[in-house]
Structures are given as structure tokens and as C-alpha cells.
Symmetry: C2
Subunit: 206 residues, 2 copies
Amino acid sequence: NFQVCDRDISEEILSTYLTADRLAVDTETMGLLPWRDRLCLVQLCDPKGQVTAVRIAKDQTEAPNLQKLLEATNTLKVFHFARFDMATLLYHLDIDVNPVFCTKIASKLVRTYTQKHGLKELVQELEQVELDKTSQSSDWGNVGNLSDDQLNYAANDVRYLLNVQQKLVTMLEREERLDLAQNCFECLSTIITLDLLHFKDIFEHH
Amino acid sequence: NFQVCDRDISEEILSTYLTADRLAVDTETMGLLPWRDRLCLVQLCDPKGQVTAVRIAKDQTEAPNLQKLLEATNTLKVFHFARFDMATLLYHLDIDVNPVFCTKIASKLVRTYTQKHGLKELVQELEQVELDKTSQSSDWGNVGNLSDDQLNYAANDVRYLLNVQQKLVTMLEREERLDLAQNCFECLSTIITLDLLHFKDIFEHH
Ligand SMILES: Nc1ncnc2c1ncn2[C@@H]1O[C@H](COP(=O)(O)O)[C@@H](OP(=O)(O)O)[C@H]1O
Ligand SMILES: Nc1ncnc2c1ncn2[C@@H]1O[C@H](COP(=O)(O)O)[C@@H](OP(=O)(O)O)[C@H]1O
């Protein structure tokens, strides 16, 4: 249940994933600044646990099937810290991801009893699984020769995300904050537009 | 062209203002924290320059005509730093202001050649008028006995706002940022909901 593709997903994978109502998505890049750091890998996982990692080539500027999938309005795209992945997908592949769920925002809105909203802590608390994060800061640029550790890391970053999301939705419903979460997710596309234009603190007084 | 009302606007003023496509709005309060500092005054100005200041009583929790006006979908409500006024109007009078234009956001998006986005600087650059800001930090709680200086200050905070807004719209169109501004204004109601729940940095990584 783990597949690696080059440059894009196949038509076959596209149609399988399009039948899912939700999809976990993550990216690996050369760093945190989209206008400096290229996109190396895009990972996907559907509710059946089918994981795909798409290797993005240097200077690649489009991935039409990935775009169809990530812009498909009937499939919710679940990210952890969507703000970053959405910005990098828009900047590098011109993909306008929509609709979106962000597990970091959901966690902040409902896990008010902690300040720990990292993916590792979320997966630990909600799935009782210990994620190995040692490959997080590694050289993803050598994308044709990723180590087993890197590929495992990349797959695990999406593997538990849909379960985490489901539990966060249950908590958000319980605390009557699901609508607020939804409204926050709808702000993300404006926020990443501002990020990519290098605007900071547009909503602040100063 | 300057009128003071108690607790709410009259039906007559309501129907006059409802014919306007845009209205400048500002508030004066006892301070910057809605959950601590009460709302004292709501100022309005229409495109003809008709200014109204509504004195809000201590413990007042509604103003039905003001609410109809500020929630009327055909009249754009123009604020300078809408985030604060919207939060205070929602918190104290349960008014969900909509639709909204914020001249501070517009200024930040288009006057990228300066860091000065205060109302005084905006009115100075775009209207060549020198606003007297000495009453800004004054006791607005004594709302039945406001000084002439305070009333003049309150009126001037809305008097130039629609002209400023019009010039900012022209600049936003020229720089092709009007849609982005519009998207930012649409995020405001979510942001003030977060503010009133004391959520901070929901969209940040940390
Ligand atoms: N300022 C920042 N600091 C750390 N991680 C950031 C970041 N901005 C974006 N990110 C991204 O947020 C993810 C980490 O989130 P968290 O710390 O909540 O687990 C990382 O993704 P990866 O886990 O795919 O590398 C990283 O790429
Ligand atoms: N942190 C803050 N510092 C200063 N002013 C703030 C503020 N938060 C909200 N405001 C409001 O923003 C307005 C000032 O904006 P600016 O500094 O851009 O001219 C003030 O309204 P008033 O001018 O009605 O008093 C003030 O009430």
C-alpha cells in the first residue's frame, strides 16, 4: 500500500483517489521559503490507507493529474499546517488546493489544554503511535535516491492524518467549534496569497 | 450636518442612511479590550457628509436600528481598523457588521511605499487635511457630557473616511489588488470571532 511515482499521479491513481471524500496530503521541500526552496515530494493517503509519493523534478512547473485531484471540490484535502503546503503547491505547481482541512488549526481550536500542536504530539495523543521525525530535516532534493528512512517518514506523515482528522472533528463538534474551524479553513487561501506576496501582519494594528 | 442621538438612531435617520451604498463608521470605547472596556459612542457618516454620533449607555446591550443599518447587506460599512470596531460592536450590541471595508487593510495592501497606516497619515496624504488626534485617548465614558473637542474629534474620525476609501479603491484597482482586499475583508468576521474567544496565532506555525 505504498507507491512512488515520478512527476505526477497516473490516470488510474487519479480516478481511485477521486472516489474518496477525504485525502491526506503532505509535501517535502528544500526548506520553508517557497520562493527559494523547491518542492521535492507530494504524499497522498486515502481513507483505505493507500499511500502515494510523487517525486517532483527540479524545474517542474505542473502536474495536471495532481492538480485535478487537489482542486476537486468533492474531495476534502487534509493537511497538517495547510498554510505551508498550500503555498508551496500554488507557487511551484500552480495548484489552488480546495477544499481544505488543517489538523494544526483544528488542534489549536479544540485542544486548548495544551500548547503542543505538532503532528508528532497529535498522532501520539490521538492514535497512540510514536512518529519518528529524524528524517524531517533531511536532503529531500536528491529525490531520485531517497533512503528507506526518508520514504517511511514521508509515508507516515500522511498515514495517520485522516484518523487524526476524524477525531479532531468529533472534538470540534463536541465543543461547538466545527463551524469556526470551517471558517478558518476558508481564510487560508487569502492568507497564502498574502504570504506569497510577502505581506506580513495585514490584519494587525501595527 | 452633525447630530447626536441617545442609545440608537431614529427610524428617520435609519431610512436615510439605508439609501447610501457606503457609510463610514467608527466607535469610541473605554479602551482596547471589548471584554473589559465598554462601548461609548458610535459615529456614522454618509456620502453626503451627514454625521451622527450615537451615545451608548452603560449596560446597554442592544440598538435595533443601528443593528439593522450595520447588518444591511446593500450598504458597505467603511472602518479604519475594522477588526477592533467590529469586535466591540459584536461584543456589546450583538451587531454582526457586514459587508465591510477596512481602510487600514487597504492602505497596507496598496501603500507599500510607507509603514504609516494610521488614519491621521491617510487623511493627510489622501485628503490634505490635518486631523487633530488629541482627544483620541480621553474619557469617553462621560458620554452625556462630552466636550466640544471630543465631539469634533469623533465626527472627524468618520468625516473623511469615505473619500479616503474611494481613493484607496482607485489605487487598489490600479495595482490589481482589489480582489485580494475584498478577500481580506471577508476574513475579518472569522478573525474577530477568534479575537473574542481570546484565540491568538491560530494561523501561525508556533
Ligand atoms: N516555521 C516553521 N517551523 C517548522 N515547521 C514549519 C514551519 N513552517 C512550515 N512548517 C512545516 O510544518 C510541518 C511541521 O509541523 P509540526 O511542527 O506542527 O509537526 C513541517 O512539515 P513536515 O512534517 O512535512 O516536514 C514543516 O514543513
Ligand atoms: N493595539 C492598538 N493600538 C492602537 N489603536 C488601536 C489598537 N487596537 C485598536 N485600535 C483602534 O484603532 C484606531 C487607530 O487606528 P490608527 O492608529 O491606524 O489611526 C483607534 O480608533 P480611534 O481613532 O477611533 O480612537 C483605536 O481604537
